[in-house]
Structure formats: structure tokens, C-alpha cells
Symmetry: C2
Subunit: 273 residues, 2 copies
């Protein structure tokens, strides 16, 4: 691959981010319309599974995928559709919910550090330490100097994982429109198998849409780094989102280029009797 | 389903186990030959995924699958083939390796308890606390009175999970023959993409085959209980093994009968604007 697809959605380190300029319905770069793109996404499951197997066997590096989005932005759906073909032994999903009192008795990265992927694994964060510069900022859970200092703490932490643990970090913001969010929340209200996902608090959060977008813009700009880049994936169309995320993940794995290791000991001359 | 397939492989609580009477090449009960049975196993992926989604949504019960086998018995392969279709967000695989010094500073169930599945999840143990009455016995890592007392500790622990956490426990011993193990170990020596799995220590363990079988027989007999039954699955034929394990898992989930929950709050009259 000469140029990576994923670069299309990359936030170049050190640049400002204006989400109004990112169209959530954009599908450019897709291999075709909905049907062809779904097929292309499905076809990425096999190379992804094969690269995962090598990563697991190699047991020297790990991949961490951070998924962030507003409510109903598609984090759960992305995990379900993109990562379902993987060997569950090599994947570990962590969903970060309200911190517990024990979490809050520590710095904000403490619980996150504990969930860092083991060597050989793919770790997926469904929400993450980024909530601590998003919801914490919008809902004023901590004073501004505290959340502002966290950009640096986050960057330092991610450098540690990347350099000391050989963790490849890929951070994806699923970008949906305000209309699409309304549509999805309505569907949750209507469908019996979706109602359990509806949380009346989501409406309060929706009322703070602009505040969240501003918080995302600053977070993306300040923490997209060479060691841990952000990607803004247009996510109104689920089929496009699944394909784009699959591409980003497969390209990251290709770039990591995991190899089956040599056996630990010299096996020549051994026979099984 | 009037009678469950899984009952065929169940170790009835309170009965002795003679593994010589269980043919590792047995395929009785299968829906057909290799081809038809593979197809039947594949077709179980969909109901399994649907039941998993309900289990996750319900978030009231959990399922724990304990996989035990001798080396090359097919634990990794079973996880890869049977559970690959699940949403990785709802599955958590724990591979128990050599205990760390920190593990050993506690009782043998301490590290296992920490890996018990969260409500709503399917937990899979690749090896488990049973190693503490298997390898610990065969390699004399602890005195006999210590490992002997563990049958009771294990039963008590599993009752706790089953009754207090509503964890359904399904324990599966993958039963292979001595010849099949030799075949598989030879393949690991020969194939470049399998050599990393070969551990010269496996040959030492193989030499203790009879001791391991005796240890398994006693463990299965003493710890197959109503709350946490053991199944002995003939595992020389991988296609049969995958189908049998899929059946046992789907039947357990059907029996748990998870339901989409009512939403936390009264949603009537709410509109999304």
C-alpha cells in the first residue's frame, strides 16, 4: 500500500480541529456504495484475524484502540461489527463507566493504566481517559486548571505505553450529526429490544451538544500525536463507519507487522514418542 | 428441546469417572458426518450471538465456561472456533498460566476469583483453578492433604458464584487420546506457524499421561455438581468437539433464558428534540 486509507481521517499532530468542516455523512474514499462497502468491510475480517493471530503468537507488541463518540455515536455497534471475527482470546474490551469510589481515590489515569492491553493482545476502550477532558469539562466535575493539565498527563501516559510497552495506539472519534443522534435516540425509545439502552440522561447531554463538540475539538487537537494519533471517522452511515474503522485497524496491524516467533528452545532432534 | 444434547457428555454428580470408558474418537449424537456437523456448528453461532446479546442487555446473570485439557487438547482451538462469532464486548477470556509470586502469596482461588465474569458477560477460563488439583498433584507442588482439601474449596467457591452472583458454570474437559496428542505435538514441531506453541516441557508432561488421567478422573468425580457440572467431550475430532461445545453453551444460555430488561426509568412521553 503506497498511501494508507486511514490518513484521510487522521488529525495531523499540532493542527487545530474544526468539526464543522468534517461532514458526518461523508463517504469519500469508500470502495463503492453501501453494498460494495459492506462487502469490502466483511473482506477485511480475514486479514484482521490473521494479523491478530500473528500478534498473539509474537507476544511482543500490543494494539490499543480507543473509541470515543457522543451518545448513540456507534461505539457499541462498531465493536460488535468490526471486531466480531477476531479470536476472543486475543481481544480485551474495557467499557469505562462512572468511576467507582476506589477509582476516584486515585489519579484519573489509574484505572485506565490497569486496563492497558497485555503483550500480544488487542485492547479496545469503549470510552476512555478522554472522558476526563470531555464530560469532566462540560459538566464542570473538576476545575479548569485540573482538566487542562490532563492533556499533558494523557500525552505522557500514551508515550509511556507506546515506547516502553510497544503498544500501538489508535484513537478514533466517531463523528455523527445532531440529526442522526436524534434519529438513533428515537429508535431506542421505540424498539423493545433497544429501550434498555435509553437513558433519560442522554437528553441532558444532548442539550450540551455545542459544549461537547468544543471539548472534542480541543482534545483532538492537543492529543493527536505521532505515538497516538486521532482519526475522525464520519459515522452517520454505519456501513461507511465499519469499513473505515476496519481499514484503520488493518493498516495499523500491517504496519506493526507481527511475526511468528522462533520457538523458545532449540527443537531440532526432538521427537514425540 | 425435550432432552438436551449436552446431557450425553455430562458427568452425573456423585458418580465415579473412568476415562478409559470414554472414547476420544466418539462422534455419536452428531447430526451427521464431518461436513454436516461442521455446518451444524456454524449454524449455532447465530443463536449463540443472539442469546449473548440478551445476556449482556439483561445484565443480571453471567456464564462461566471452564476449559480444561491435556497439552494440545484443543483449548485454544475451541475458543477460536466456537466463540469467534460473539460480540467481543461481552466475552472475557482468561488464560491461567504459571502463577506469579503475587498470586502465590494468596490462596489458590484468589487469582481465579478476580477473573470471575461481570454480570452480563460470558467468561471463558483457558485452564483454571483445576490446575491446582491436577498439575499441583502430579508434580507434587503441594502436599497431598493440601490438594485434597481443594476439592471442597472449589465446590464451595463455585456454589458462591452460582448462588450469590447468578453465574452459570459449565466445565468442559476436552478428552483426547494419547495418539492424537502425539500427532498434534508432531505437527507443532513441523509447521513454522505452529512451532511457537511447542514447549519442550510438554514432552515431560506427556510422560506422566497416566498420572494426569487419574488426577482428572478424581477431579471430575469430586467436583461435578448441580451448580457446576462437568462435561467430558470427545475431542480427537475437532469438528465434533466444536459442535459439541457449541451445543453445550447454547443449551446453557437457553436455560438461563436472559431477557431484555425494562428501561431504568419511565420513558413514556419522552421526546427527542
Amino acid at each position: 500500500m503506497s498511501r494508507r486509507h486511514g490518513d484521510r481521517w487522521l488529525v495531523p499532530p499540532g493542527t487545530a480541529v474544526d468539526l464543522a468542516k468534517h461532514d458526518p455523512r461523508d463517504t469519500s474514499g469508500a470502495p463503492g456504495g453501501e453494498r460494495a462497502t459492506r462487502k469490502a468491510a466483511d473482506e477485511l475480517a480475514e486479514p484482521m484475524a490473521e494479523l491478530q493471530e500473528r500478534l498473539y503468537a509474537e507476544s511482543a507488541q500490543s494494539l490499543l484502540i480507543v473509541l470515543q463518540a457522543l451518545d448513540a455515536g456507534g461505539k457499541d455497534g462498531t465493536i460488535k461489527h468490526v471486531f466480531r471475527g477476531l479470536n476472543p482470546q486475543g481481544v480485551h474490551v474495557t467499557s469505562f463507566k462512572q468511576p467507582t469510589p476506589h477509582d476516584l481515590a486515585h489519579d484519573f489515569l489509574w484505572r485506565v493504566h490497569g486496563a492497558a492491553p497485555d503483550r500480544g493482545l488487542i485492547g479496545i476502550f469503549n470510552r476512555s481517559h478522554y472522558e476526563d477532558v470531555l464530560v469532566a469539562r462540560v459538566r464542570r466535575l473538576v476545575p479548569e486548571p485540573v482538566w487542562r493539565a490532563r492533556y499533558r498527563h494523557i500525552n505522557d501516559f500514551e508515550v509511556l505505553l507506546a515506547q516502553d510497552a510497544r503498544t500501538r495506539i489508535v484513537k478514533i472519534y466517531l463523528h455523527i450529526s445532531r440529526d442522526e443522534q436524534a434519529e438513533r435516540l428515537r429508535r431506542r425509545l421505540e424498539r423493545p429490544d433497544k429501550r434498555w439502552k435509553f437513558n433519560p440522561g442522554d437528553l441532558e447531554e444532548r442539550a450540551r451538544w455545542d459544549d461537547y463538540l468544543a471539548a472534542y475539538e480541543e482534545a483532538l487537537a492537543r492529543t493527536s500525536t505521532g505515538d497516538a494519533p486521532w482519526f475522525v471517522v464520519p459515522a452517520d452511515h454505519k456501513w461507511f463507519r465499519d469499513w473505515a474503522v476496519s481499514r484503520i485497524v488493518v493498516e495499523a496491524l500491517e504496519d506493526m507487522d507481527p511475526q511468528y516467533p522462533e520457538p523458545a528452545a532449540d527443537l531440532d532432534g526432538l521427537t514425540v514418542t
